[in-house]
């Protein structure tokens, strides 16, 4: 990675800035201000995805032949920095960071042609159907069954925590096609190219923040084509493991973490300390924020080494390490947000959180989002594999058991 910035990179920054200043609609900007989750408000972020796609910038990390930008690492950081600076809503991860890259790596030619354009363009939304009521950390014990019937599978069972299933039109999922051997054997990776199927039902689950984000999905004799299978039947575990490395990656996340620091600092500038004076001038507050900013800087350093090809990222523990660090840092940042909002964060303002509601705020944007963000981010150490399970994986790379 080149640490000096030359005129070319400066020109690129201006180009990016000019676009990001003008292209997002008011609703998209509002969605960025009202962000309380890694999952941005759905309608606005999908619209933003389509706008970025028309500019060719929806998937900077993808290979050029599939619609990536071909930017250098430096350019990708410039883009991420300008993006975060404007508080724009992050694009939803499932298509761009999970199933898209997976299909690029492991999908058939036909599957690539059928699905990648819709993912890239933001026309389709893919939900991830892995977890089940009885199969969370022990994912391989999943039991949602697929029985072959002619060219189809018949699905029976249920999935849970399926994020945004109620807004999705596609699902990638794990099903059980054989239960005779080891539990990792007999799992099959399946693509559903529609969700309005007879026998398929979706029930949204309301989260701690009062908003529906995860869902339960029920399958009763749901018929889907076998052509949606990725990889061989019964060999889906290896496919899923491949995808998990994408899910746990996160290559340019530090700019959005810095955004938290900046938002907190700005909020503290217009709040009083309970000891009198501005909160931002309070040395104890400065020390607390300083520690978190330094932690964000460490994340930046790790990921900048990684994207520059440093062997740090070749470590087997690297995906788990990143997931653990960034989820817990997000939790600490949102905890500080909730503390800074304090009492003013306590009113429940679900309607005002809704983009376009026009509902009057009881105080400012910061107080509106602080507590929902804190509450929502409790899940960060649970989803994508709990941090207990991640630490187990990291530990195995340090000391044999």
């Amino acid at each position: 990675m080149d640490l000096t910035t030359g005129p070319e990179l400066d020109a690129f920054r201006e180009e990016v800035a000019a676009f990001l200043d003008t292209a997002p609609t008011d609703a998209i900007r509002e969605a960025g201000r009202k962000l309380t989750s890694v999952f941005s408000p759905f309608d606005e972020v999908m619209e933003w995805h389509r706008i970025l796609h028309r500019r060719g910038w929806a998937a900077p990390a993808w290979p050029v032949e599939h619609g990536g930008t071909g930017w250098s690492v430096e350019q990708r950081y410039v883009f991420a920095e300008e993006y975060a600076r404007r508080n724009l809503p992050p694009l939803l991860p499932n298509g761009l960071k999970m199933i898209g890259p997976l299909l690029i790596d492991l999908g058939s030619e036909e599957q690539k042609q059928q699905h990648l354009p819709g993912i890239l363009a933001g026309e389709d939304y893919w939900t991830q159907g892995y977890s089940e009521p009885g199969a969370g950390s022990d994912l391989a014990s999943l039991s949602c069954a697929a029985v072959a019937d002619g060219d189809d599978y018949i699905l029976n069972g249920s999935k849970i925590w399926t994020t945004l299933a109620h807004r999705a039109n596609r699902m990638f999922m794990l099903v059980r096609t054989d239960s005779s051997g080891r539990k990792q054997h007999g799992i099959t990776f399946l693509l559903l190219d529609r969700l309005d199927l007879p026998g398929l039902q979706i029930r949204p689950i309301v989260g701690l923040d009062g908003l529906p984000e995860q869902c339960e999905v029920f399958f009763e004799d749901v018929r889907v084509p076998q052509s949606g299978r990725v990889g061989a039947e019964n060999e889906g575990w290896a496919v899923a493991k491949h995808l998990l490395t994408h899910e746990r990656g996160g290559s340019t996340s530090s700019p959005s973490l810095y955004r938290f620091v900046q938002t907190i600092r700005e909020a503290a500038a217009v709040r009083t300390s309970p000891f009198g004076g501005r909160l931002v001038d309070d040395p104890v507050f400065q020390r607390d924020l300083g520690e978190l900013e330094a932690e964000v800087a460490s994340v930046e350093h790790v990921e900048k080494l990684a994207v520059s090809g440093h062997p740090i990222s070749a470590d087997l523990a690297f995906p788990s390490l990143n997931k653990t660090v960034s989820s817990e840092l997000t939790q600490r940042l949102t905890t500080l947000m909730a503390r800074v909002a304090g009492l003013q964060g306590l009113p429940q303002q679900l309607q005002a959180l809704h983009v376009g509601s026009g509902a009057a705020l009881l105080s400012d944007d910061f107080d509106l989002v602080a507590l929902p963000y804190y509450l929502n981010s409790r899940a960060a150490s649970i989803y994508a594999g709990t941090n207990e399970v991640q630490r187990d994986l990291i530990a195995r790379t340090v000391a044999a058991r």
């Binding site: 689950i205 701690l208 995860q214 309970p274």
Partner: protein, 373 residues
């Protein structure tokens, strides 16, 4: 010294617990919170019948002369059941402030009605950041001898929308930071110039921001113009009751999480058999034990008239921090199901966050302790 409840306290606690266990299940509580009723009139009436509304007041003003420890005895079950009734707002805050100024006939009159259950009061003291130190009160009150005039705003006044009377703290003299020049006034929520913005808090309580725009207050409704001590003792006693609620919630979290961890199976075994889960349960137990001990000890100090501001800050800080950490541990141990609105777990977390934020959070109170208060 014996820090256990007396037989009478145990009986009172038992009768409250039994009633709540039957009539204030989590499902009933959730139905209430999602209805448009701010609290349950039936539950409130039952509290009147049980004598809970007159419990904290001396016999001279029509109370039964209960102690701080009596309030702790009922506070824990309140917390365990996530009660949203305006006991804190009307009885422990407005009521206590009125009792402390009961030589004023208007104060005595309102207090009588509050403890009979025929009126509700609210304590309009909060100004946005917890307002733990009454000296920071800034709401302006101009005195003109025969009348006073209020200008400014109170934030997050619990129970204000249902209140028949607001007990308002305001500054008649000097700048924020000074202990003198603080007034305590009675204001009708419907008085000209009073504007309420009502809302519900994340922990299911009815509250409102209250704006005062040239609100006239007649001299007889001014209860004090040197109210620092009254406000401090009112808030101090309320802290102990709030802490009791927190400890009740923490105990419930420990029980429910332990039960979950012994029944939830992954990898063919109960998750409680994983050492990291078992140790987290152990930490929760350590935290609950510490918080409850500080609660009981501090309540006894208050009852003996020996609690210092430092003692109250120790309690509030410990309960605030340990409460959060117990609740966060409970969510994490539950996995996905812990992040939903459907389990009580998350509602305890929200209640504990709210308790931490009120009257100074743990960071504030640790600093008070550390400064050698």
């Amino acid at each position: 010294m014996d820090f256990t409840f007396t037989d009478e306290q145990a009986m009172l606690r038992e009768s409250v617990s039994r009633y709540l266990h039957k009539h204030y299940t989590f499902a009933a509580r959730q139905a209430l919170v999602s209805s448009d009723r701010p609290y349950s009139a039936e539950v409130w009436q039952h509290f009147v019948d049980l004598g809970l509304l007159s419990l904290p007041f001396p016999e001279s003003v029509g109370g039964v002369g209960g102690s701080v420890v009596d309030l702790v005895a009922i506070g824990e079950p309140f917390g365990e059941h996530l009660l949203v009734e305006p006991y804190l707002a009307s009885v422990l805050l407005a009521g206590k402030a009125l009792a402390a100024t009961a030589d004023n006939v208007r104060a005595r009159d309102w207090l009588q009605r509050i403890l009979a259950g025929t009126a509700l009061g609210a304590f309009a003291h909060e100004e946005g950041n917890g307002t733990p130190d009454p000296a920071q009160v800034a709401l302006r009150c101009k005195g003109t001898g025969a009348a006073f005039q209020l200008d400014g705003e109170k934030r997050l006044v619990l129970g204000a929308a249902e209140a028949d009377v607001l007990v308002v703290t305001a500054r008649v003299e000097g700048e924020p930071g000074r202990r003198d020049g603080l007034a305590l006034l009675l204001v009708a929520p419907g008085a000209p110039g009073v504007r309420l913005t009502p809302f519900t808090t994340v922990d299911g309580r009815s509250a409102a921001h209250v704006a005062f725009d040239s609100v006239e207050v007649p001299a007889e409704d001014c209860l004090s113009t040197d109210a620092y001590a009254v406000i401090t003792s009112t808030v101090g006693d309320a802290l102990v009751s709030l802490s009791a609620e927190a400890v009740g919630a923490m105990g419930a979290l420990l029980r429910q999480t332990a039960e979950f961890a012994t029944t939830r199976r992954q990898f063919g075994v109960p998750i409680a058999t994983f050492q990291v889960v078992a140790h987290r349960l152990a930490d929760m137990k350590i935290d609950v034990t510490k918080a409850r001990a500080s609660l009981l000890y501090t309540a006894a100090l208050v009852e003996a008239g020996r609690a210092t501001p430092r003692d109250l800050s120790v309690l509030k800080a410990q309960v605030g921090r340990l409460g959060r950490s117990v609740a966060e541990a409970a969510v994490q141990t539950h996995g996905g199901i812990g992040t939903t609105d459907e389990l009580a777990i998350g509602h305890y977390l929200k209640r504990l966050l709210a308790i931490d934020a009120m009257f100074g959070d743990s960071d504030y109170h640790y600093r008070v302790v550390g400064a050698g208060a």
